[in-house]
């Protein structure tokens, strides 16, 4: 299975995402430059964490308008799977591929510590190996992870089963404790904490591993 990870200027978790895809069985993983207009053949595209364009204007705002994001939107519309982590989640929201927005953490602090997440919906493309209500431990590292959207959007997200992960203890003020949501197709996930940090037992937790393995299983099924 093939994955492509986009590198934006200021992204610093792109290589971690590449490593996580490789460690979980993706055989071909490519890094793609943000100025490219085309993606290499891939089953999954990863939008990494970091500080694309120094978080200028709004987190993810400039990256969302880069040439490669048009290709990523086309890829998703054509049935491809997209995983956006942290800044990647912000970029997907700014690009209009996911609803809502991520704003400054309540408390204003940059939060960098492990967070327990509840799987709000198992058995999806991203949570195939997880059950409803299961808990996983994944590190957070963000200053603007406070998810917000209007009430109608939130009701729709919940009604359609598009909230996949919630914080057990809300660290940033996100509405309804939301940590990760998908688009209407269920093929685009934005997740604030970093599953790519936790695929190797040496990092203390392997809670992120199942997300990559679920994806591998999903795209392997075709």
């Amino acid at each position: 299975m093939r994955a492509a990870v986009v590198t934006f200027p200021g992204a610093n978790r792109d290589r971690d995402l590449v490593r996580a895809f490789r460690a979980t069985g993706f055989s071909e993983v490519h890094l793609v430059w943000h100025a490219d207009a085309e993606l290499p053949p891939a089953d999954v595209v990863g939008i990494p964490g970091g500080f694309s364009y120094g978080d200028y204007l709004r987190c993810g705002a400039i990256a969302a308008r880069s040439p490669i994001m048009r290709a990523v939107a086309d890829f998703a519309n054509a049935g491809g799977y997209v995983l956006g982590v942290c800044n990647g989640f912000q970029i997907l929201c700014e690009a209009g591929m996911l609803p809502g927005a991520l704003v400054r953490n309540v408390g204003l602090r940059f939060i960098c510590r492990p967070a327990a997440l509840t799987v709000a919906r198992g058995g999806t493309a991203f949570t195939a190996g997880l059950a409803d209500g299961e808990r996983i431990m994944i590190s957070t590292a963000h200053g603007d992870g406070n998810y917000t959207a209007d009430e109608d959007t939130l009701d729709r997200l919940e009604g359609e089963g598009r909230v996949l992960f919630r914080y057990v203890e809300n660290p940033n003020g996100s509405v309804r404790d939301i940590a990760g949501i998908t688009d209407a197709s269920g093929r685009v996930l934005g997740l604030m904490p970093h599953p790519e940090c936790h695929v190797d037992p040496r990092t203390g937790h392997t809670g992120g591993r199942t997300i990559f393995e679920s994806l591998l299983q999903t795209v392997g099924r075709g």
Binding site: R65, C93, G107
Partner: protein, 80 residues
Amino acid sequence: MKVRVEVGLKQGVLDPEAVTIERSLLHLGFEGVSGLRKTRIFTFELATSDRAAAESQVRAMCEKLLVNPVIESYGFKVEE
């Protein structure tokens, strides 16, 4: 044309930074402060003398980049 765009969080979107600034003013003894908002102002020159064209261009700039309509609202002025 001189353009001035002001962008701020919509009413109802919590701005923890604004809340903190307001609280800090109150702590300093400035009584009666409420509803503090923090906005961002963009100023630039636009090479056109056609006001209507300038306004529609600025509106497009706001919608495409300067503003995130999910959380922000904006206003602008165009002057000779």
